[in-house]
């Protein structure tokens, strides 16, 4: 008998249909993976089970948990279930904990509430639970506040809260999306162990097919509120019967078609970074001691040839974004020098930088945040034209914008729209149009696809590859995602704690990492093919 059974569930919020005839079940001790792209309704499914939906939401159908009709249960009954029989882990560990309460209080609170334990008793259980999720008392006393912990540690606390009372069902909604690959692997391991230990059912929600494949016994694939396919993980993914399943799987492992890498040995280097270091003022520990500066980038040197595509990979906080900003002359190095096309950019005024800016553009991660919502596309895409010596006329400008839009696969009529009229993928195209309008020699792309759904991500990667071929633009890709690096770059630089610890041809480094940091990254990176293979093997 199933622990959780969802039958014919429909959900509307206001006038919007979120879920349509949703079906799903989780048996005790089973891991069910719920996969879908953004807007598919997977998080709302979880909130429906918890009955924590927004005010205006209306659900119909049947949701039964352990024999209880969830949709008909009273609020008191739900309170008794939540945290005791059903636990939930959320996506964003940075905001999921109350900043003004200690982690001990937050873990013990649910224990006390449900078991009526004494304060001391509850704290003892909380201590054991935190110890279990990898936060031992000696290093992480109960009196710690969330802000004193890192993202991964906070996610462990959230898991401790959810699992404190050994729930029958654990719902994990994108539990690792906000973490880097190494932390992701650690958290997934922890979840797997906890589920196995106490035979919990786990409903794992994720957009990442590879993650789900590694974890789940069965998967359900959701698209726009409807179930596309459901069944045994290994079989579903190896057979790929449903076209959408196939589409998802292919997009996840997509590698753009690229001609053979450019000859990179010729001519003068495009970009040279020499011994660059960046210190930030650190926190003063005492009034009388000088603050120890935090070194974000530590004596980094690198060089790029025209037309070359280079990946800069590393865990979050390793200093890769800081390095990118310095290359773009948006931040100043504490020491060292950066030369672009042979000319030093460090220490130059904005006016002196103009020629360099013309040949150097940027694409950001967030397709939503990188456009001023108050301006039209024409003005936004044309913004870099500002650095041209000769200001184009209005007609020329429209011509150039139209051309750039055409190159990224958008219609020239789009230039009179506002950015909010575009989808995330289209916006990233706009972002690229903006970057190429001055025909630059170098584009720095800071995690350009990590906020996109897999299918869109594949398209954008294709576009990057195409433009690289057509226009001979050199790319510096900053990413923590090794599949992206593998897909589109010739060279890779691995960064760790501000230093470049390994460099070389992309395939060589990723297949045979030498440094500890690179090894950890490679080992932790989820890989769909590998995961399917392992599943098949396990099942024989």
């Amino acid at each position: 008998m199933s622990l959780l059974e969802i039958e014919n569930l429909s959900l509307t919020i206001g006038d919007t249909q979120i879920l349509k005839g949703m079906e799903l079940s989780v048996a005790p001790g089973e891991v069910m993976g719920l996969v879908g792209e953004s807007g598919s309704g997977k998080s709302m499914t979880a909130l429906t089970v918890m009955r924590l939906l927004p005010y205006a939401a209306r659900a119909s159908g049947r949701v039964s948990f352990d024999g209880i009709d969830i949709l008909a249960a009273t609020e008191d009954q739900m309170c008794a279930l939540r945290g005791d029989d059903v636990g939930m882990v959320f996506q964003e560990p940075m905001t999921a904990l109350n900043p003004v309460k200690t982690i001990g209080e937050q873990v013990a609170e649910g224990i006390r509430w449900h078991t009526k334990a004494t304060r001391a008793g509850a704290e003892e259980r909380a201590r054991r639970m935190l110890d279990r999720v990898g936060l031992p008392q000696a290093k992480f006393p109960l009196s710690r506040y969330p802000h004193e912990l890192s993202g991964g540690q906070r996610q462990r606390v959230v898991i401790a809260i959810a699992c404190a009372l050994k729930p029958k069902l654990l719902i994990a909604d994108e539990p690792t999306t906000a973490l880097d690959v190494v932390l992701q692997a650690q958290i997934l391991d922890l979840l797997r162990d906890l589920v196995a230990e106490s035979r919990m059912g786990l409903l794992l929600i994720s957009h990442d097919l590879a993650v789900v494949t590694e974890m789940a016994d069965r998967i359900t694939i959701l698209r726009r509120g409807e179930v596309m396919e459901a069944g045994d993980t290994a079989r579903t993914l190896s057979e790929q019967l449903h076209p959408y399943t196939r589409q998802l799987a292919q997009a996840s492992t997509h590698v753009p078609a690229r001609a053979r890498p450019h000859d990179t040995s010729q001519g003068k280097p495009l970009l040279q970074v020499e011994g660059v270091t960046r210190d930030y003022p650190g926190r003063r520990t005492s009034l009388f001691k000088r603050a120890v500066p935090i070194r974000a980038v530590d004596d980094v040197s690198l060089s790029m040839q025209p037309g070359q595509s280079v990946a800069l990979v590393g865990r979050s906080g390793c200093g890769k974004s800081t390095l990118a900003r310095m290359i773009l002359a948006l931040d100043k190095p504490s020491s060292g020098a950066i030369r672009f096309r042979g000319e030093t950019t460090t220490g130059k005024s904005e006016a002196e930088l103009k020629p360099a800016r013309r040949d150097m553009q940027v694409v950001f991660q967030d397709p939503y945040g990188s456009f001023d919502p108050r301006q039209k596309v024409e003005k936004l895409v044309a913004e870099p034209l500002h650095v041209l010596d000769k200001k184009p006329t209005r007609a020329e400008r429209r011509e150039m914008v139209a051309h750039a839009l055409h190159e990224v696969g958008l219609d020239q009529r789009d230039m009179d729209k506002y950015p909010h009229e575009f989808s995330g993928g289209q916006r990233q195209r706009l972002s690229i149009a903006r970057a190429i309008i001055t025909r630059p020699k170098l584009v720095v792309a800071d995690e350009p696809v990590s906020a996109l759904d897999v299918s869109i991500r594949a398209q954008i990667l294709d576009l990057f590859a195409e433009l690289n071929q057509k226009l001979g633009i050199a790319y510096l890709f900053i990413t923590h995602d090794l599949t992206v690096a593998r897909a589109i770059t010739d060279q890779v630089l691995v960064m760790h704690d501000g230093k470049i610890v390994e460099r070389g041809k992309t395939n060589e480094v990723l297949d045979h990492p030498q440094s500890e940091a690179a090894k950890a990254l490679v080992a932790a990176a989820p890989d769909l093919h590998r995961a399917i293979a392992r599943r098949m093997q396990e099942q024989g």
Binding site: R357, V362, G369, D372, E383, Y418
Partner: protein
């Protein structure tokens, strides 16, 4: 202080449609338009001449001839409220103008520059905030003499740090956005970015603060006039009417009630308007509606 700004991504017509479904906005808008209309009408027509004293008609209660009664000099209170609206609106509006005109560039500049300039500007701001506003307004009018113009200056000066603070906080929330970084990568100067990207994005914030300060300005003007430091006769002003009324509360309560209600309704209208605008433009509150 950190501030979270949600930038609404909508077209003008969408916003307007939303506006006219928002009760607070509609109520506030109607009240504000009515008060403005009343002030404008008073330029061409009032029931009676407010500069003409008719001592023989003094302190008459509301009647058909004088809907809101007459004051201690026999002037028609309705007419005085109409003309007084001019004064209240002018004082508060110009004071907001002063505050915005000086405060917003200061705040935007401080946010754009950062560092010592920011620190120094904010300390001066703190200094002005440390002085009790009403007390300082009294001192300003004591130095320059009472009158509408000095009331404007006194209120306006205290609007400057308010707008500087709001503009700075808003600008600080905009500056780390990626589109600003993109503009910087495109080689735009800080001033250009402030004008092209920052100010348009904090405009709604300033608009909301503007209505709040407008309403506060009307209250402040009333307070100063009540202490005899605002507009001087023969120009009627709501606060002054209350000042004149307070010694006659027993025999002529209408002299206090009607101008008081005029103030309450006007301030209420402006506050509702500000709330409405904030509601319409804040996607977070929209989510719940």
């Amino acid at each position: 202080m950190t501030l979270h700004i949600d930038i609404p991504e909508e077209t003008m017509s969408g916003i307007l449609a939303k506006a006219f479904r928002n009760t607070a906005f509609v109520t506030g808008f109607v009240i504000t338009v009515l008060i403005l209309a009343m002030a404008l009408v008073s330029y061409v027509w009032t029931p009676y001449d407010v500069t003409k004293l008719v001592i023989a008609d003094k302190t008459q209660g509301p009647s058909l001839a004088h809907w809101f009664g007459t004051d201690h000099f026999g002037r028609d209170i309705l007419s005085m409220i109409m003309v007084g609206a001019r004064n209240s609106i002018a004082v508060a509006l110009v004071a907001v103008g002063i505050g915005m005109g000086v405060g917003v560039p200061l705040g935007a500049f401080a946010a754009a520059r950062g560092g010592l300039i920011d620190e120094a500007l904010m300390r001066v701001n703190d200094l002005v905030f440390a002085f009790p506003a009403l007390l300082s307004a009294i001192m300003i009018t004591a130095i320059f003499g009472p009158g509408a113009v000095n009331a404007i200056i006194a209120i306006g000066i205290f609007n400057i740090p308010v707008f500087a603070r709001v503009a700075r906080a808003g600008a600080l929330a905009i500056w780390p956005r990626e589109f600003i970084l993109a503009a910087r990568a495109a080689g735009k100067s800080r001033t250009q970015i402030s004008i092209e990207h920052v100010l348009p994005n904090i405009a709604t914030l300033l608009l909301v603060q503007g209505t709040i300060q407008f309403a506060l300005g009307i209250l402040a003007e009333a307070g100063l006039s009540y202490l005899g430091l605002g507009a001087q006769p023969p120009m009627p002003s709501w606060g002054r009417m209350l000042f004149d009324a307070q010694t006659r509360m027993v025999v002529a309560p209408w002299m206090a009630i009607f101008p008081g209600m005029a103030i309450v309704i006007t301030v209420l209208g402006l506050n509702l308007l500000g709330d409405g605008i904030a509601d319409i433009l804040d996607p977070k509150s929209r989510r719940q509606r």
